[in-house]
Amino acid sequence: MAFSDVALAKSPVWYAKLDEISGATFADASGTLTDGTFFGTPLFGEPGATGEGTSIYFDNSSSADSPSNSLLFGSFIFDVHLFAKFTAAVPSVTLWEWVVDTSNFIRFTTVDSGVLQFQIRRSGTYRTIRTSSTYDPASEFLFVGFGFDNGTVKIYVNGVSVPTFVAVNNNVTQAPNGGGPFGIGNNGSMWVDDTLVFRTTALTDADVAELYAAANVPVPLVVPLALHGYLQSAAAVVPLRLVSIESSPAGSVPLLLQSADPAHYQAEVAAWSPSVVLDGVDVSASLVGDVEIDRAENQSGIASFELLVPAGAVDLGSYERKTVAITFDGRDSAGSLLYPVRRFTGTTTIAEFNPDAGTVSVTASNDLQGLFEAMPREVIDKLIPGYWSEHVFDDAADGWRYAVDRLSTIPYEMHVDSWGRLVVVPWAASPAYRTFTDTARFGGTLRLTRVSRGDLITHVRINFDFVYTRLRHREISVNFINTLGLCGWLNGQGNLPSKSMIASAIDGNQWTRIGAVRYDDLPTVALADICGGTNFAPNSNSPLFCLGAHWKAARRWGQTVTERHPIDVIASDLAEAVGVQPTNFDYSVEAVFDTGDYERITEYDAAPTGAVLMPQTADYQLDAVDAERTGRIAMQAAQVCAIERAKTLILGRARGNRVTFDPVYDPTVDLSKTLRVSGDYLDATGKVVRLQERLGVRDGNPQMTVELAISRHGGSGVAVNDPIVAPPTPTQPDETPTPRVYFLQQRSGGVLNAPPDDEDWDGWITNAFGAARTDPNNLYRERFVVRMPEIEETARQATTISQSTSYGVAVPQDSLTLSN
């Protein structure tokens, strides 16, 4: 289908095909409006864009206007699309406009070297949308347009909706009320072909794409060149890497599986004997006294035993730094082995000789700390869950410290089990593995010790500062408007500045010019009898001077921003019972950035990539927070780490209540278990936090002391655990607005009552001449000065913004009942 068929099928309310090749009017192919009128001298019969008819070239003094009408009166939905060929070198081109009056219009233009801009003004209120990219078709037509749907604006280029941003965000959802002409052209140089206006029903993306496809805009041909050449290389050396592969035979890892018999150890009388293997040698026969084992959360397990030594020299070193395995052997009444139970696996640390008894006392450790000291952090990360940040913990810490730091951010504990295996488990009580009820067998050992109020923490205040550099980029419009005008110059009230003088002054300050300078040129045609009877005739020097100049200038600087995050982690249930028990932590992250380069470099022609025009400052901003170790992502990870650490601290202190008792020996009890003790006067459930075992060589009856951790809050129990995510970024406050337009003045000396010359002036300073020079004693030094405004202190100085956040913590309430 031809483009016009596709276009008309979509029912435009106005369709200017612009296929006229002469005349003063143009037709509306939609049949809605009467013919429009050409103004100025457009060029007809130019090559078209749609494969049908021709296009029309408009210079900056020609246009095509429809008759005045109210076709878009109050519309909420409308579309305008047209083919245009323009050049970005022209600062601003009006592609299409509908103007009711200066406070009510819709305008589609190019600005800023090829940015497409849609602007609607209704009752004086603006909404402006711009494309994020520039477009400079130069030698080919673009199919450009916009769709307006209740304030939502899409801008299309060649059938595709392109990225845009909101430059002015006032809420305008409706076309102005009133009537006025539709215009094409004006204020620029461009070729325009078929132009379409739709209303009431919005065009879809597919509609616009279909229109563009129907035009069959030719794609430039690309002719690949086949270029042949050859490479010449010098003599090469090829080193050989000879590797010998090491092969191993099949391996076999035996398992040592021990099964404890409850029928034995829960019986009235169970017999046990200790067995110790030291450096691979069974030394059980030399044991005297007690074998003691003491294990606790987050600590190395310790074992001690005493050995008779044979007569002769004693080498204590032969007992130290040796592997040791301690087993308690369950035996029947006849002394026969029923089953062994490994109780400790470790390494001896120190041996002491008792010369009176002829024994050596040996102490061993399962060396929890030593497991981590030389361990790579990546391996620790696999073993220890939790959080870690160099901004919260010491980055130079050794492996043990690193592991402890990670563990301090989650409610977990670690220990080494009886086989020497690292165990990391939650410390929260779970359903009781076993309930001990026969308190008569505790031997009066059952005790409850409550955590002191001073050890509890209910509120943790984290003062977290994030310091970074905000890269700011300010653009202002600079205007030199020669108030003399053409007549003032012709009448001798002052000279005109040369363009070269202006260009030199523009580039001679700390601001960077963005885009080209637009000059107000002298007339290019002779003018007779103007300005009170003067004649003007252009000559070859006329283009070198101007009546005014306009450009955009930019300035960049870095501003230090401190985000202050007061973060509260609160256990409200616990605070109900014991009052507020506060503690504080302070952390700070400073995002690394070298502001110097940003401020020094003045060669740019747009805002920094990624910078956004912020309404709070009317400047482009880009926060330098991308550094891997000190940027926002790392900072937020540190915040989460600090909050989790605070939460864990509160929870850990709240489980400081202890119940201890000595039950009948049960070898299956270990630090991972939750136990319940249920007596007449005390009933408690908690996780084992410490376990001590003693077994004499001859008594056969192991003693076991169990210590349970009981978590309590004592409050109403309504607290909940808030999800822990990084606090939100503080809101940036509005700065006091400063002008984004700067005007340079013109001053003339040599006239009566003119003020004396002032070197602080900027703008164009000149002198009257000829008959207009009425005071030859007060002449100025002729110069063009651009003295741009300074960036205000509030925009330069370091600033602080704050955001408070609070996180609730629910302290577990383990079972604990007391009665008398």
């Binding site: 099949a250 021990q258 404890a260 018999d261 089953y339 990546e378 295996r421």
Partner: protein
């Protein structure tokens, strides 16, 4: 006895496994489950482990071997997995493939977890072992 190549007792690969020091231990009371772990890896990060049979193609397989089937602990009471959490979904008695390549360095070592569903009377049982196919240690 000599170390079992590429098998370690600890995650940092500092304690090569030597059966003379005893097997990989686990214990529980009858009716409970016991767990244990060891590590397969190469200490040198510049090397990797692959099955000798067809390096890089055949899986590195670990199988459960019972030296006295029909008595004591049976192979079907053992499950293998590469994480403690993975044991629950493991098939009793089934072999474990830990991939066709294990990169060197402690951080790349593979955890081999086993659990034992203890349904047997009190005692110590040594008839179960975990066998590993022959391995090549080759440069990365």
């Amino acid at each position: 006895m000599a170390d079992v190549p590429y098998v370690f007792r600890d995650a940092a690969l500092t304690e090569p496994f030597d059966p003379v020091d005893g097997g990989i231990g686990a214990w529980s009371k009858q009716g409970d489950t016991a767990v244990g772990v060891f590590y397969v890896g190469a200490t040198d990060a510049g090397f990797k482990l692959q099955a000798t049979s067809n390096p890089g193609v055949d899986p590195i397989a670990l199988s459960i071997v019972d030296s006295s089937p029909g008595s004591g602990v049976e192979a079907t009471a053992i499950r293998l997995a590469v994480s403690e959490a993975g044991l629950a979904a493991a098939t009793p008695g089934a072999a474990l493939n830990i991939g066709d390549t294990v990169l060197g360095g402690a951080v790349n070592a593979i955890e081999v977890w086993f659990d034992w569903a203890n349904s047997i009377g009190g005692g110590e049982y040594t008839e179960i072992s975990i066998d590993i196919v022959p391995l090549d240690e080759v440069p990365v």
